[in-house]
Each structure stands twice: as structure tokens, then as C-alpha cells.
Symmetry: C2
Subunit: 338 residues, 2 copies
């Protein structure tokens, strides 16, 4: 599928979804839409992902050159920015599907719904949970696959990226591994999944369990994309539901070098790394015995020397192999996990 | 408000909502509807609650003798039983409001919606969350009130009952105490509240925080009705969201004497009582430092001697005062809490 990726005024640093799709998805990127960086190419900014031209809008692309428009940015609050309307309109008039992970559902927008019907296009609101979810039965551990869950010290520490990198490298090493996507970017990359942060709270664990049961006998390893943090003042419910719903065999603790307070909630200090390990393991244990057997540290903000030192210190604090999965290779983690 | 309480074929033992309302709500109970026990009175079965006659259906009551029909039973799955339709229809024709805590919303039922409109009645689906909920800001601790949260070793161990008993006895002792209701029975009793198990998972903590902020400067003590258990395979997300959203000052651990496995999930053993204390306190700590300072044990299944021994043992395991709040008085707990 050929996609145009909308990332107006935010590419690359504030377009996490666009970057994730360029890096991990099987889509062919026809273009990135960003009216601020138009005229450049993706690899002018980010060297190690799929390249594509950056253009001002859908109107710069030929009808028939794209199959879908994908909204690759997520504004705070998840609303739809009216300045994107013209691009979505043009995409639908071109006959493209539109894929979005906003809290605002495109299918509830009268104009988009009408244009989609007229042009026989699909509006895929990936953040809209399926209607048939229910409570967990506590049986995810019964699948054949080993279940590996990424957990974090905070939001935005790289759980999605780590899940994708580990699954990809495991597959390249000859293992049968799949990702269980739980958030909008993961779902867009994989083309399926339940948006766990949007399900009814009683069904949080059940919505994860349903995915594990669906894929767990088809693969040897499942990498479950974690969400939030078990001590996050706002999002810990989602984290806890995933932990118990997935019934993991192993945990990978993700962290950002130097972060010492909850992002956006700076009055809350992060516990120590050993405290996280202890808390995740103890909380998992009555439902599924799972140890933190590896760590992933995002060192993007550090120079080479400092990054190496930070990874070493992180591994020592964890008592387990650690790496930065973007900066270095993932072998030490895969050895501990597979 | 004068209410008729529907509890067909389930009164009293399997009508938890009906009993909760009879025991704690300010409503005047005109009748209980139960076609199986009709002809008896409430106090023939349960001595220590508001009395009322038990009748076969709404048609046995005079029009004008009741203000609302309240659905006092919750079938597995939360569906509407068609055998109740005639009673709801009659209630609406009498001009009564109808209050229900089902997953099936009465307002989405065409016949009930039409009859309610024709007769100027309200359909109150207490399990339908308000549309304006959002994520927690992590500020519940800023209210003036001391926040006391009931937590549990499992579902159905008495968290709602303990919250109600403690708040009532605190008020009777002259303290300014209120309940923060989080489940359908609590919401029916109090006449307001957010059904936390039905909110979007991302808003679990936020939906609790919103209630604490609303009431926290009006009272000296808030008793927050807890839900589920932090190690429940299906419902731990809700528990965790309430724990962090409420930012409690103190915790009361609720348990049923003799229970050793998760109800309905019997392959999952309960951790030891000290393990629960440790887990709840450690999980709360990074967001709000809260100790388990009291325990409530449901000893309904035990003879007097055994009950006393069980409470003593429970208190020893907790290292805190404990009692059965229905069987004995709540003084030892209130002393530790207020």
C-alpha cells in the first residue's frame, strides 16, 4: 500500500507516528506532508528510515499515486486540526482511504463520511475500539508463544520502538516473532490491534488477552507493546491492565537516560530502577510470573561516550542486559529473551 | 424519594444492589419486587435494614405511591431481562423515573425511551459515564479532605459496604465525611458518581480525581469506594486507576474470611495479607504515600467464635486494627482513620 503521511509543522521531531510508520511499517511512503519542511526529503532529517519527498499537501501528489492518507501526528488532546481538512478532503476525492489515530473519529465527521461514501473510501479510525470486547478470562498464558512485554518507567520512553526493533531483529535472526500492538502507532504499523487506552476500563486486560489468544498459537514469540508506567498518575490503569491481561513470560524495562520525573507531571519523581523492577515483578507475580530480563535505554540525548556509560549503568541497576535499541544492536537483549 | 426496588428471583442473597440501597440510601422503599418471595417482608429475610413489603410487580402498587423504580439486581453480563419489561413499562406509565446500573442502557431501548418521553419520566442509566471525562492531572491530593480508600484482596469482598459503614459511623460520631461512589450500587445510594469500570481506560484515574476535586474541599473526610483488586486477572486496571487517581492518605484493606482464590478465577491463589499490604503501599507510594492503617473482614460465613478469631488473625496479619463492619462496630477502624 502506498501512503502519504500527514505531519504538518511537526516533522520529524514531533511526529512520532509518522516516524514509526516510516521506520517499521510495510507501507510504501509516497510522500510526507509538512508545509514547513516541504521541498526537503525525509532522509535530510532522519537517515535510517524509508526515504520520501516532503510536500506541502495532497494537492501536490498525482491522483492515483497514493492509496491512503495517514495522519502521522497526534496533537495534545487528540483533536482534528482544521488546517488538515483540505488534505483529507483531497485524499478522499482522489479515492484514498484515510487512516487516523485521533480521539476525534473521522467517521463521525459529516463531510468526511459523505466524501468517503461518494468515493468508495475507507475511514479507519484506529483508536476506535471494536464493539465486542469483554473482560479477561485470565487465560493468555495458555498460548504456545512466549509472551514478552515492554514496560516503562514513564510514558514516551520507547516501548513501541523497542517492541518493533526486537520483533524485527528476532525475525531476521530466524525466529517466528510477532508484535501485539496496543497503541495507535503500533496499530497503524501492524495494520491491526486494539487501542487499549480507549477501551472500557473493565475490558483493559480483556482487550489484550483477546489479541494474545488470536496470535499466540501462530508464533513462537509475541512482543507486546506496553503503555504508560505502573506509577504514572494518569495512565497506570492501562499499564496494569496490559500487565495482567498479557500474562507475560518476560519483561523488558524501557527508560530514557536522565529522566528523573514523570513527563508532564514533573512533581512526581521516578522511583529508582531497582524499585521499578521489584514493583513490576511483584505486581505481575500473582497473575503471571514474569521477571525483568532485559532493559532498553533511550540515549538519544547523549554523546557517544556518555551513552555507553549510561547503558552500562542502566544494565547494572537492572541486573540484566541492557542496550539502546536504536543506537546499538539488539543482540544482548535477544539473547536474554529468546 | 419513594422507590420500588426490582429484585426478581434474587432477593435477598443475590440482590446486592437492592440490599445496598435498603441499607444505606436515603430513599423510602415502598416495596421490593420479587415474584418468588412476594407476600413476605424485607425484614423476614434481613433484619437490620429498612423494611418494606415484597410484591410480585409494579401492577401491585398504586399509581402515585412510588416516584422511581430502581433495578436492584445485576445479572452476569449486565443485560436487561425481558421478564422485567412489564414492570418497567408499568412504572413509566405511572410516571415513575427508572434507575438502572446495567451495561444495557434503558435510554437506548426504543420502547422505554418513548414511554419516558410520553410520561415525562427520567431514565437514569447510572453506568453510563459522563461525556466530559479526561485524563488525571495528578492533583487529587491538593484537596482539604483526608482521602480514605477501601482496597481489596478480590472483587466482592465488601469495599462498597465498608465505605458506606465507615462514612455513616463517622458522620454519626460528628465528623464531616462523604462517600465517593465509583460503582453502580454506590452511585444509586449516593445519587451521583462516575461508574469507573465503564469509563475509557485512559480516564480511569481522571474520573476518580474529578470526583475528589468536586467534593474534597466541602468535607473533612472522603471515603472512596474501591473496586476489584490490584492482582485481579481481569479488573486490576480499574483498581490501579482508582488508587492513583484518588491519591489517598490512608487505605483500608477488605477481605472475606477464608477466601483463598480469586472469585470466578479459581486457578489464581490470593497472595498473603502482608503481601497485599506491601503491594498496595508500594504501588501507591510514587503517586501518593498511603499506608494500610485498618482492615475489614467479612465473616458472614462464620459462627460467632470463629468470626472473632478470624478478625483477630486478620488484624495480626495486617499489623493494624481490623473488624467486621457489619457484625461489630467500626470504632477500632475509625480510631485509626480519623
Amino acid at each position: 500500500m502506498r501512503v502519504a503521511i500527514l505531519a504538518h509543522e511537526k516533522f520529524p521531531d514531533r511526529a512520532k507516528t509518522a516516524l514509526g510508520v516510516l521506520r517499521y511499517a510495510d507501507y510504501e511512503a509516497t510522500a510526507v506532508l509538512d508545509r514547513e519542511t516541504a521541498g526537503n526529503r525525509v532522509t535530510d532529517f532522519v537517515p535510517d528510515v524509508q526515504d520520501a519527498p516532503i510536500v506541502e499537501g495532497m494537492a501536490d501528489l498525482e491522483p492515483g499515486s497514493v492509496d491512503a492518507l495517514l495522519i502521522g501526528v497526534a496533537p495534545i488532546g487528540g483533536g482534528f486540526e482544521e488546517s488538515w481538512r483540505e488534505d483529507v478532503r483531497t485524499a478522499l476525492e482522489y479515492g484514498c482511504d484515510v487512516i487516523a489515530g485521533l480521539h476525534y473519529f473521522l467517521e463521525d465527521d459529516d463531510e468526511f463520511a459523505r466524501l468517503a461514501a461518494e468515493n468508495d473510501c475507507e475511514l479507519w479510525d484506529v483508536r476506535k475500539p471494536p464493539a465486542d470486547l469483554t473482560v479477561s478470562e485470565g487465560v493468555a498464558a495458555e498460548v504456545d508463544a512466549d509472551v514478552i512485554l515492554t514496560v516503562g518507567t514513564d510514558c514516551s520512553v520507547g516501548k513501541m520502538t523497542v517492541s518493533m526493533e526486537l520483533a524485527r531483529d528476532a525475525r531476521e535472526a530466524g525466529y517466528d516473532a510477532a508484535v501485539i500492538p496496543t497503541g495507535q502507532t503500533g496499530i497503524m504499523i501492524e495494520g491491526w490491534g486494539n487501542p487499549i487506552d480507549r477501551v472500557v476500563s473493565d475490558f483493559t486486560a480483556g482487550a489484550v488477552e483477546e489479541m494474545i489468544l488470536e496470535k499466540g498459537d501462530e508464533h513462537d514469540y509475541l512482543f507486546v507493546e506496553g503503555q504508560g508506567s505502573i506509577v504514572h498518575p494518569a495512565y497506570s490503569a492501562v499499564t496494569c491492565g496490559i500487565l495482567h491481561g498479557a500474562m507475560p513470560d518476560k519483561l523488558v524495562l524501557c527508560h530514557v537516560a536522565g529522566r528523573d520525573a514523570i513527563h508532564g507531571y514533573e512533581s512526581f519523581s521516578l522511583p529508582s530502577i531497582p524499585a521499578y523492577v521489584d514493583l513490576y515483578e511483584r505486581l505481575a507475580e500473582p497473575v503471571a510470573e514474569a521477571d525483568v530480563v532485559a532493559g532498553a535505554l533511550n540515549t538519544a540525548g547523549l554523546e557517544a561516550d556518555a551513552a555507553e556509560r549510561a547503558v552500562d549503568e542502566y544494565g547494572d541497576a537492572l541486573g540484566a542486559p541492557a542496550t539502546d535499541v536504536i543506537r546499538y544492536d539488539t543482540d544482548p537483549l535477544l539473547e536474554a529473551l529468546l
